[in-house]
């Protein structure tokens, strides 16, 4: 009995002490605000783009972490003049726009219903203010680089502005108008150190969401609906992005309603294929992994020889890498860098299908004929001697691809010394052109602007033809003309191989449709090419049948449908789109336009 008493005493003491700890923390925590959700509210929890890192800093325009997931979190609160949906550019703060023939003057017609979260009216003054502010604090807005193209902004009336550019800019509608968050003048005019401005005022925008709480410790962003949103009815009451330790497990036990998976996470996605509780959509990641070659005329021997680079390209089995590393969760990349799902994609680039014989033949022809232990030797008199050996740098992240390449290239007699290093070190080698090959990846490959320096972050590739073609496409406003130039750029990269692209991973959105089923992938990525599915338009009732109340005469819709389908005369007044030849979203857009809810889309 006495013994039991001791046990009980000890356990009790332990409980008391822990209770004290608890009490301390709970009191500390209870001070924090909570939004009391009422029953029936639709709360959506999302992993928000990337597992592992859940913090993307404070979602104000100058403090968010300058990568896609960070931008997206800010974009929930701040609107831009234009935006993108699954089909391309759509109006946002600007109802419509007009561009002058020389491509240097853009007129924007602003939405008259837009209000800031604090109730102030949005006007043309805010737009002008934002352009001026961005020019003043260009260095502080690390996300954004193209403001230099803008010469000045002129206010025509309260809801019309004219933006004049220094030179024509083909991507203006996406890269500036669809990218720059419009700031409320009445708040930001007094802010002189925007990167330190993080109060509640710093997150007042016109977006569909208002920020309730950001917590860097727990890595979550808690938003609530801005029911006064000018651009559509909100179907979500609260939205939360949060960090989890394992996205698949968190989805399964209901901690989150949606999660993003990349590339080799296809194994996790497959777990949901047969699960009726979840739906999956697949999208392009607009991301590419590539080998950067040293093309420097002085330091790059022998990789500065394009024929030699082709030999390596033939000697690398990209399909095997996709299979081994991504488990099929991606595709072998376009050798012209841009993603196959991008509108700028050139399908005719040289593919360099795996061909050991071809690779060997090229290497032999270049004089690398002698072999020691299966490794080719430099020809005598060359800049280097001994084994044909290269250092292949990569971060730990792509080590496994490196191992596969190492094994493949050994088969054509090239020895690879795989050297994992940290990115800072690798970057310094790249700057100084002190490297042989580097494995590195980047995103944004829906946007031709990414091709400015094809072997970025190195810059050993020098081609005047390439540089001038790039500059030309930058100012070519006609879509087809520009596309032709972009196609040429891609072909040049595929021919010259400053980089040899390896693969594009897929990206998946796995979600619980009972909570929210409007997830979609944005045409060429959100904004300048962010691949993830966190487009703020998912919160809006835009894409249901807008005419569910039957306010529009169906005949009107049919007429327009027939016009789109280029059918001759409107004799048959049945639903012209019964075969769904037209994207239903377009139909809805039309309906909305007729209803005056989402204004005219004019390009």
């Amino acid at each position: 009995m006495k013994k039991q008493k001791t046990v009980i005493t000890l356990v009790f003491a332990a409980l008391i002490c822990s209770a004290a700890c608890m009490a301390f923390s709970v009191t500390a925590l209870a001070e924090e605000d909570n939004v009391a959700a009422t029953d029936g509210d639709r709360i959506v929890r999302s992993v928000g783009g990337e597992v592992g890192t859940s913090d993307w800093r404070y979602p104000a325009p100058f403090t968010f972490y300058p990568r896609g997931p960070g931008y997206v979190r800010m974009s929930m609160l701040f609107d831009t003049l234009t935006w993108k949906d699954a089909n391309g550019v759509v109006p946002a703060l600007a109802n419509g726009w007009r561009v002058s023939d020389d491509g240097k003057t853009w007129t924007f017609y602003l939405n008259k219903d837009a209000r800031w979260h604090d109730g102030e009216q949005f006007t043309a003054d805010d737009v002008k203010f934002t352009f001026d502010y961005m020019k003043d604090y260009e260095g502080e807005f690390t996300w954004f680089e193209a403001i230099d193209y803008v010469d000045n902004v002129e206010i025509v009336d309260d809801y019309t502005v004219i933006v004049s550019l220094n030179e024509p800019m083909a991507s203006f509608l996406v890269d500036i108008a669809g990218n720059m968050p419009i700031l409320p003048e009445h708040i930001w005019s007094s802010v002189s150190d925007p990167t330190k401005f993080t109060g509640d005022d710093a997150v007042i925008g016109t977006g569909p969401m208002k920020l309730v709480e950001y917590n860097s410790a727990e890595g979550f962003y808690h938003y609530e609906a801005n029911y006064d949103y000018y651009n559509g009815k909100l179907i979500v009451d609260e939205f939360i992005t949060m960090g989890v330790s394992n996205a698949a497990a968190s989805l399964k036990n209901g901690d989150v309603d949606e999660a993003t998976f990349w590339g080799s996470a296809v194994d996790a996605v497959n777990e949901f294929v047969d699960d009726d509780d979840f739906e999956i959509i697949t999208g392009p990641s607009f991301w590419v992994l590539q080998i950067i070659f040293n093309c420097d005329a002085d330091k790059g021997y022998p990789t500065n020889n394009v024929t030699f680079r082709r030999a390596i390209a033939y000697g690398i089995d990209r399909e095997e890498i996709v299979e081994q590393k991504l488990h099929g969760g991606g595709v072998a990349a376009n050798t012209g860098i841009l993603h196959p799902d991008a509108i700028w994609y050139n399908p005719d680039c040289e593919g360099y299908a795996y061909n050991v014989a071809e690779a060997n033949a090229i290497l032999d022809s270049l004089g690398f004929t002698e072999k020691v232990d299966g490794i080719r030797q430099y020809p005598s008199g060359a800049e280097r001697s001994g084994d044909l050996k290269f250092v292949l740098y990569t971060t730990g992240k792509y080590l496994r691809e490196g191992e596969l390449i190492q094994a493949q290239l050994e088969k054509i007699g090239i020895k690879i010394e795989l050297t994992p290093s940290d990115w800072t070190t690798i970057d310094s080698y790249l700057r100084d052109a002190e490297f042989d090959m580097v494995i590195s990846g980047h995103g944004g490959i829906a946007n031709p602007q990414i091709m400015r320096i094809p072997d970025w972050p190195a810059s050993t590739y020098q081609s005047e033809e390439y540089t001038s073609t790039f500059a030309e496409q930058e100012v070519t406003l006609d879509f087809d003309d520009r596309k032709e130039l972009v196609n040429q750029l891609q072909e040049m990269v595929a021919e010259d191989l400053p980089v040899y692209t390896l693969y594009h991973p897929y990206i998946w959105c796995v979600y619980n449709p009972d909570v929210l089923d409007t997830w979609f992938y944005t045409r060429d990525g959100i904004c300048i090419g962010i691949p993830i599915e966190l487009n703020k338009l998912i919160f809006l009732a835009r894409y249901g049948d807008a005419n569910e109340n039957g306010k529009i005469n169906m005949q009107d819709v049919t007429v327009i449908e027939r016009m789109i389908m280029e059918l001759d005369e409107p004799t048959d007044m049945a639903d012209a789109n019964k075969d769904e030849t037209i994207n239903m979203l377009d139909v809805t857009c039309v309906e909305l336009t007729i209803l005056g809810r989402a204004p005219i889309r004019c390009e």
Partner: protein, 281 residues
């Protein structure tokens, strides 16, 4: 009652585990069914071809774990042997010569003991190139401290004992006394310390690798575990059973081996713990 005691059983069990592990690491090429860098179909479930399946890039997991024994034990033994030698030397100097040098050594020991060791190692490891040599060097820097302290206090005890005094009176040189009289008495303590250090290094290395700070090329158990942990469907499927459990259990077995041997040795060496039989006599 001189029969088999618990400590004997545990001691031999521990020794057995360690012997097996050392054998596995020596004969890894003979035991492992495949080269750990060969690639097969990735994410295979266990089969007669791949007893523990394959990992995310198609390496045979069993072979990877077998070769991992080499890496883990190599680090553990290299670090603990070096650290123990350094620690013993500094402990002997500090204990035997005293003076400014001894004082300095002991102050350094105090500081090292107060600084949270693994936290600092994590910080350092984060900035150094990721290789096993970085890990080895960093662990050695922090590994000698406890040994130095223990050896010193033992030397202080021994020094005051008569036979050292008499050896000194007989005119033995300091080095001779250290070598002939003090070192043999310190050895048992050092052996226990070696074992504790080795098991500490095994866990600490695994921890660093788990955090992704290990050598990504030389795949220790911790590194294998790290890759398994990063696998997105590790928890939601059965994959953890053949990818995460084997390296984890290997770490546990090694540490347990060291712990059991260390425990048995300590019980034997520390007379205070030896027996309470006949107290008061």
């Amino acid at each position: 009652m001189t029969g088999v005691t618990v400590k004997d059983v545990l001691g031999s069990l521990g020794l057995g585990i360690l012997v097996i592990l050392v054998a596995v690491s020596i004969f890894a090429p003979q035991i492992a069914p495949y080269d750990p860098h060969d690639t097969y179909k990735p994410m295979e479930h266990p089969s007669s071809e791949h007893l523990l399946g394959t990992n995310d890039v198609g390496n045979d997991i069993l072979s990877e774990v077998i070769y991992g024994t080499r890496v883990s034990l190599f680090i553990a033994f290299t670090v603990s042997i070096t650290a123990i030698v350094i620690g013993t030397a500094l402990g002997l100097i500090a204990g035997y010569s005293g003076g400014v040098l001894g004082f300095l050594i002991m102050r350094i020991v105090d500081i090292f003991l107060t600084i949270p060791r693994l936290v600092l190692i994590i910080v350092i490891a984060a900035f150094m190139p990721r290789s096993i040599w970085t890990i080895i060097v960093v662990f050695i820097i922090f590994g000698w401290v406890m040994t130095a302290r223990i050896v010193r206090s033992e030397v202080l005890t021994l020094r005051s004992q008569y036979y050292v005094e008499s050896a000194r009176m007989l005119g033995g040189s300091d080095l001779y006394i250290l070598w002939r009289h003090i070192l043999p008495n310190v050895i048992p303590l050092v052996v226990v310390q070696f074992i504790m250090e080795a098991s500490h290094v095994i866990i600490a290395e695994a921890g660093l690798s788990f955090l992704g700070l290990g050598d990504p090329v030389a795949r220790s158990w911790g590194t294998t575990f790290h890759y398994a942990f990063e696998c997105p469907n590790i928890i939601t499927s059965d994959v953890w059973m053949w990818w995460m459990l084997p390296p984890g259990l290997c770490i546990v077995a090694t540490v347990l081996g060291f712990t059991f041997v260390g425990y048995a040795l300590e019980e034997r060496l520390n007379p205070k713990l030896k027996t309470v039989v006949g107290m008061g006599v």
